[in-house]
């Protein structure tokens, strides 16, 4: 479970970093890229948290 959580966090980091590059680098006028990769980072962050909580809940039950 730990590996899965870390892998999803790596995905979140890469997507967020790309969204930030598009947001702050002058000349990169591509707001669509910021929106999609930024919201995508949030989606995978939510997935990571949900996965972590579901695994913890199941471990407590067993």
């Amino acid at each position: 479970m730990k590996q899965e959580f870390i892998l999803l966090l790596v995905v979140v980091f890469v997507w967020l970093a790309l969204a930030l590059v598009y947001a702050v680098v002058p000349g990169l006028n591509m707001p669509g890229y910021i929106r999609v990769w930024g919201i995508g980072a949030v989606v995978f962050l939510v997935l990571a948290v949900v996965l972590y909580r579901a695994a913890r809940r199941q471990r407590k039950q067993t």
């Binding site: 479970m1 899965e4 892998l7 890469v14 997507w15 790309l18 669509g32 989606v43 199941q58």
Partner: protein
């Protein structure tokens, strides 16, 4: 890569394909059956439109300009969007339910998603048949005089996106409800499905980003979407990766079902590979923008460098699957490449579909690498080169993989044996023959500058005569692979209809050869294939540069590829 040698201690005989899908409860079978039927209907229509297009491009049919572009729009919309994404929706649900070995969670949401996808399909088809042909990207600039059509096309795609997002949420909830390993972790396939479903949701967001402005403008509620081309590129990039990620996940599942062997690299490494798809997606997206004149030079250079990584996850997944198949074949005791190849269950249609999918992926990758070179993209992107290479992926790799899964899943769902399995196991090879002809014609025509978005390429007799034989190959190859694919579609659809007299036992794969669990196995085929592939990629790219410099080609790009 650690796949070059391994012991076969990972060999075991787990549940078969029939066991995997037979555990899905009846209400979920109906839902998956509905989605599978819808996807196959879209594929059948897409094939029919594609045949018409191939005949028009080869000069056998001579449609008027409006009809030609309408058929092109219908082909792309139906085959690229509705076949590939409805099939993915069915697959992610089916594999999630099979992974849980129980009922789908949030089944109502999944049913709602399936109905919304169906509504989107009907809307898109009606608008593409009756409105201005906008091509499959629903380009608002082509519909600037017809906002109603722009609203209809974008609205249909937004319904599709909403539908597959709902199904992805149900799949995620189902996977999270599966029984975990002792450490609380998921199986490798479970984690891959979770990542894929998450990516489906992000792609639905990319679809909203691309199509919502067009819908609002079409309904008179917003400004004209001037950024539509850029926003389409982001979505298009995701739409490239999603079916490939689905493909490797299906290979992963079916390799176990067909051979009884677990992937040789173990679950931890497999999870790493599945996650790497998501890591490589955003950084490699820039090459779609190479044809945009406003893209800064620094970004072109960065895009060129990053594009080198585009196929890394697929190649690693390819290595795992091929090494696993080789380990299975070697454990059967045969020696020699041919002897080991014969060990694989080729009389099972799913194995034949998967074999053709793997071969066409290797061929497609060679030419995809040529196209994403910044200097060549401008010359080739608007030529027949693109459909020439792209169909190796769309028809060969992805469609053959989905058909492979359906030939195993559908009998388990319907309880009816697969229709004429011997015939269906031949069809993938006919598809391959057709694709080779189509691809050689299309790629050759592309190098000669034949445009891909012009239906009548005769130019009133002024077109070079050398174009004609290449386009004839495109027509003949297209009809050949479409005919074989149509037989496969019919076979799966026929098997989807439940048997009238109770449930018949679905056909099991043939008995597996005796496996010697203590036998060491060195699996070299995968690494050797990758070395050859990389050499072919560089060879083809160098050859393309040389060829383009020696030809008086003046083709130039003007839009997305």
């Amino acid at each position: 890569m650690s796949t070059t040698s391994m012991s076969t201690t990972s060999l075991h005989l787990p549940a078969t394909a029939v066991d995997r899908f037979a555990a899905v409860p009846k209400p979920d079978r109906y839902l998956c059956g509905f989605l599978i039927g819808l996807s196959l209907l879209a594929l059948a229509l897409g094939i029919a439109y594609g045949v018409a297009m191939a005949l028009a491009r080869s000069g056998i049919l001579a449609p008027g300009p409006d009809t030609g572009y309408r058929v092109l729009t219908l082909h792309g919309t139906t085959a690229f969007f509705y076949w590939l994404y409805t099939a993915q929706a069915a697959t992610v649900l089916l594999l999630a339910a099979a992974e849980r070995k129980g009922a789908l969670v949030l089944r109502g949401l999944a049913w709602s998603g399936a109905i919304v996808i169906g509504a989107g399909f009907v809307l898109s088809e009606l608008v593409a048949i009756t409105g201005t042909p906008l091509l499959y990207d629903a380009n608002p600039e082509l519909g600037s005089e017809d906002p109603g059509t722009v609203a209809g096309m974008t609205g249909g795609y937004l319904l599709l996106a909403a539908g597959f997002a709902m199904i992805a949420v149900s799949s995620i909830a189902t996977i999270l409800a599966t029984r975990r390993h002792a450490d609380g972790g998921l199986s490798a396939l479970g984690f891959g499905l979770l990542a894929w479903a998450g990516f489906l949701i992000v792609s639905a967001i990319a679809a909203v980003n691309a199509f919502l402005p067009g819908l609002l403008w079409g309904l008179g509620l917003g400004a004209f979407p001037h950024a539509a081309t850029t926003d389409w590129h982001i979505l298009f990039h995701n739409l490239h990766y999603l079916p490939l990620m689905a493909t490797v996940l299906i290979w992963y599942a079916l390799t176990q079902d067909l051979t009884g062997i677990s992937p040789v690299t173990g679950p931890a490494f497999s999870k790493l590979v599945f996650a790497s798809y998501l890591v490589f997606v955003p950084p490699t997206s820039l090459y779609h923008m190479f044809l945009e004149p406003t893209l800064p030079e620094a970004m072109r250079v960065a895009g060129s460098l990053l594009s080198l990584f585009v196929s890394v996850p697929t190649l690693i997944a390819f290595l795992i699957i091929v090494a696993s198949l080789e380990a299975y074949a070697r454990a059967g005791g045969k020696s020699g490449v041919l002897g080991r190849l014969r060990q694989l269950p080729w009389d099972n249609p799913a194995m034949a579909n998967m074999g053709v999918a793997i071969l066409t992926m290797l061929i497609g990758l060679v030419f995809a690498f040529v196209l994403i070179q910044e200097k060549l993209a401008a010359l080739l992107s608007d030529t027949m080169f693109v459909p020439g290479y792209f169909h190796f992926f769309a028809v060969g790799t992805v469609t053959q993989t989905f058909i492979a899964m359906l030939t195993l899943a559908v009998p388990a769902i319907s309880g009816r044996p697969l229709w004429r399995p011997r015939l269906l196991s031949v069809m993938p090879w006919v598809v391959l023959a057709g694709l080779l002809l189509f691809g050689a014609g299309g790629i050759g025509a592309g190098f000669l500058g034949v445009p891909r978005r012009i239906i009548d390429i005769g130019y009133d007799g002024a077109a070079p005569a050398v174009w004609r034989p290449f386009m004839a190959m495109v027509g003949a190859g297209g009809v050949l692979f479409a005919s074989a694919l149509a037989v496969s579609v019919f076979g799966v659809l026929r098997s989807l209809v439940p048997a009238r007299r109770g449930r018949a036992a679905p056909r099991e794969p043939r008995p597996r050869p005796a496996i010697r669990p203590d036998a060491p196995a060195a699996a070299w085929t995968g690494p050797v294939a990758v070395v050859l592939l990389v050499a072919a990629m560089y060879g083809a790219t160098i050859g393309a540069f040389e060829l383009m410099q020696s030809l008086p080609v003046t083709a130039s790009g003007g839009g997305a590829h």
